[in-house]
């Protein structure tokens, strides 16, 4: 094998791995059969959020193990996803006010504004930006800024004031989606039409057609233009 290998350290142990691997693939290459710290392997689930260092540099770096290429002299440790505080609330019983979010997550008010959360976000979300929005009661802004959060919880682990911000952000998004965003009239109307049985006859007619008849109908169906 003529592979380009790099040296990495997994929990202090030296390994040589192909330079083109991701951190996750490198752990597996080294022999770790993962159960924790691995999930979708596509950057959406937050299970493999990882903290690493490069030899000689004291700075901690943050990444998703499945989306980040290894680099020489990486010092890796597997830090399993750990359960963050998440109080029990019933969305249907909330009015949807900013004060309710602060009552459920009162620690939000003790934010130091140090911005460590933003620096630790592997999604590059302006975490402090949405925490500030929550504190000043701007739910739409908090919901919008936090939208791409994959809930890995790295921001929580690094927060000196121990804010459980990703859960607070999720609450703000659920409130926005349920209570603040305008509802779709066409959706309500369609559901009422279905309940009246408006389309049942048309569908049962389609169900009675032969395969050939359906094929013909399908091939000649009208297609809504792109613009």
């Amino acid at each position: 094998m003529n592979e380009n290998l790099v040296s990495i350290y997994i929990m202090g142990e030296h390994h040589q791995v192909p330079a083109e691997l991701t951190i996750l693939q490198a752990l597996e290459y080294a022999g770790y059969r993962l159960v924790r710290g691995v999930g979708c392997r596509g950057g959406f689930c937050g299970a493999c959020a990882t903290v690493y260092r490069v030899a000689g540099d004291y700075h901690l770096k943050f990444a998703l193990a499945c989306q980040t290429k290894v680099e020489p002299n990486m010092q890796l440790a597997m830090i399993p996803f750990f359960p963050a505080h998440r109080p029990r609330y019933k969305l249907s019983e909330l009015k949807g006010t900013p004060e309710e979010i602060l009552a459920i997550y009162p620690e939000l008010l003790s934010c130091y504004g140090c911005n460590t959360c933003t620096k630790s976000c592997p999604q590059d979300i302006d975490v402090l930006g949405y925490v500030s929005a929550l504190i000043r009661g701007d739910i739409p802004a908090a919901a919008d800024i936090s939208f791409d959060c994959i809930m890995c919880g790295l921001c929580v682990t690094r927060c000196p004031a121990e804010l459980v911000k990703h859960h607070a952000a999720l609450l703000s998004r659920r409130i926005y989606g349920k209570k603040i965003a305008p509802r779709s009239e066409h959706l309500k109307k369609r559901i009422a039409e279905i309940k009246e049985g408006r389309f049942a006859k048309e569908i049962s007619e389609l169900k009675s057609l032969s395969r050939e008849e359906l094929q013909k109908l399908y091939a000649t169906r009208e297609i809504e233009p792109e613009e």
């Binding site: 392997r41 596509g42 959406f44 989306q67 029990r88 989606g177 309500k188 389309f199 395969r211 169906r221």
Partner: protein, 534 residues
């Protein structure tokens, strides 16, 4: 530019034909042209990669060799040596799988007053639902109707779909969207509250509802959060099911879980069981890379099959046309169909279009494979093949900033490797994406095994031989809810818990022996093994 020199040069070539291509879209194929393309190039037609099942309810049917191996495998548990007299838990409804279908089922069963346990392989929400990006279909606009949706689903599935299931899917769809909204899912909307909807491959109306390109993640994290709000739902994480438990007549009475933390079995006694275990992309059929979750190993099919359940359409898998072909680190990961919905074309090494971008997935995938097999693909430095997906077109068609606004996940995924998808095209190749078939169900999610219900990707029939974009998220919500309802109702009527035995495994072993089949593996496999074997 961020591509290495040879690719950079080819990417520039794509930009040179962009202006002319903006004015001319490749025409849609005629039915007979599609048929020819599929037969020539779709992986489902590679006969040598399939095996015929010799035992069980589907004996005689063909399925990928990798799946046949597991379906004809042996149990992890010795049926005689275990005593199941004292279950660790009892519940009305046991839900196996904590993805979209499992969580939807749990919430509805809880609404119905059932005592619910969700057992899941990894964490709650670690599932393909979380990774679905493009959208969810529902015919809720003025120019659309469930009947129009019905015909699209059937045409996409090559008219093989179970009509009752399709009718259920399209008729329940608008209510499923409303249910999600009530839970707080943030769909993309216009200022007046109307849904921003777009086309998907094979849709005749713009009925794809989106949440940026995190649609599945938005749905999954909301469902998960709601499950956590319900005091009566017990969640057992890192506890995949390894066998169902049955009584004398074959009725399901519970399941055996494996606690992955402690490597210890857990026995659950339940009045009804919902299998919502998802797909099997991690079996890497025909050595394809996959867009699937780490836990997508087809466990549910194995468990249900041994318990006597009939499977449907297990000879057809979906290869998503646009998996990542470069960079190598994220090969096989999904590039959402929404990229093509927004207007990006597919072009070959000569910077020429070769397919209408929104044909159904099986057709587009076949066309890409054809281009590569016939020498019109691009070879990456790692030796992989791909074609260009011309993402910068979106900025021209829909205005600067559209890509960053509509496709933040895609922008991030490529930016991590130095590729700016609003400025440069990307390289794609089909990736193993979806299990079109699964356990046969009826509209109440009942199976051929008493007290066993199935929902979501683990089920088969609704999508026929090919699923349309946006109908999987819809499937998990519509049938997840229905499974939860049916399982709760049925549990109420089953006044007593059943006996906990592995008699069906004894029978299974006898069957294997009778057919002189020596099982080559123990199944389910639970997780794939990617460690380097020296």
């Amino acid at each position: 530019m961020s591509y290495p020199a040879p690719l950079d040069e080819l990417a520039r070539k794509v930009s040179l034909t962009r202006e002319t291509r903006l004015k001319t879209t490749f025409p849609r194929l005629k039915p007979e042209e599609k048929e020819k393309l599929l037969k020539g190039f779709h992986p489902d037609y590679r006969a040598d990669t399939f095996a015929q099942l010799r035992v069980g309810a589907n004996a005689g049917d063909r399925t990928p060799k990798e799946l046949a191996l597991l379906l004809e495998g042996d149990s992890l548990i010795e049926p005689d040596t275990n005593s199941f007299d004292a279950p660790d838990y009892q519940c009305d409804v046991l839900i196996i799988g904590g993805g979209g279908a499992g969580c939807a089922a749990a919430l509805i069963a809880d609404d119905e007053g059932a005592n619910v346990i969700i057992a899941t392989k990894l964490r709650l929400g670690d599932a393909n639902t979380m990774m679905a990006q493009g959208g969810i279909q529902a015919a809720d606009k003025e120019n659309d109707s469930p009947a129009i949706h019905y015909l699209d689903v059937l045409g996409g599935g090559h008219f093989a779909n179970d009509p009752e299931l399709v009718e259920t899917l399209v008729t329940d769809a608008p209510e499923a969207i409303q249910w999600l909204e009530d839970l707080g899912v943030m769909f993309d909307k216009n200022p007046d509250g109307s849904m921003k909807t777009i086309h998907g491959g094979g849709t005749s109306r713009k009925r794809m509802h989106t949440a940026r390109d995190y649609t599945g993640a938005e749905i999954m994290r909301t469902l998960r959060d709601e499950v956590k709000s319900r005091e009566k739902i017990t969640v057992l994480e890192f506890c995949p099911a390894v066998e169902l438990l049955t009584e004398e007549d074959g009725s399901v009475t519970g399941a055996v879980l494996l606690n992955l933390n402690l490597n210890r079995y857990i026995i659950i006694q339940a009045k009804t069981v919902v299998l919502a275990t998802g797909g099997s992309g991690r079996l890497h059929y025909q050595s394809f890379p996959t867009s699937n979750h780490y836990g997508a190993t087809g466990d549910g099919l194995v468990l249900a099959y041994r318990a006597g359940a009939l499977l449907k359409f297990i000879d057809t898998m979906q290869y998503h046309p646009t998996g990542v072909a470069y960079p190598q680190q994220i090969i096989g990961q999904l590039v959402t169909e929404k990229v093509r919905s927004l207007g990006a074309q597919l072009v070959n090494i000569a910077a020429e279009q070769f397919i209408y971008p929104l044909e159904t997935r099986d057709v587009v995938a076949s066309a890409i494979i054809r281009e590569c097999q016939e020498g019109r693909g691009v070879t990456t430095p790692a030796g992989a093949q791909g074609v260009w997906l011309d993402t910068p077109m979106i900025e021209i068609l829909r205005g600067p900033g559209t890509v960053k606004r509509e496709l933040p996940a895609m922008v991030r995924q490529f930016a991590r490797f130095g590729i700016e998808i609003d400025k440069e095209p990307i390289l794609v190749y089909p990736t193993l994406h979806y299990q079109n078939g699964g356990v046969a169900i009826d509209p109440q999610c009942r199976t051929s095994v008493p007290f066993l219900f199935v929902a979501g990707e683990a089920s088969g029939g609704v999508h026929g031989r090919n699923r349309l974009m946006g109908n999987s998220l819809l499937d998990v919500i519509v049938f997840g809810r229905r499974a939860g309802f049916s399982a709760a109702q049925t549990a109420q009527k089953r006044t007593q818990f059943g006996q906990l035995t592995l008699n069906h495994i004894k029978k299974w072993r006898a069957l294997l022996k009778e057919k002189e089949i020596e099982p080559k593996v123990k199944s389910p496999i639970i997780l794939p093994d990617y460690t380097k074997k020296s």
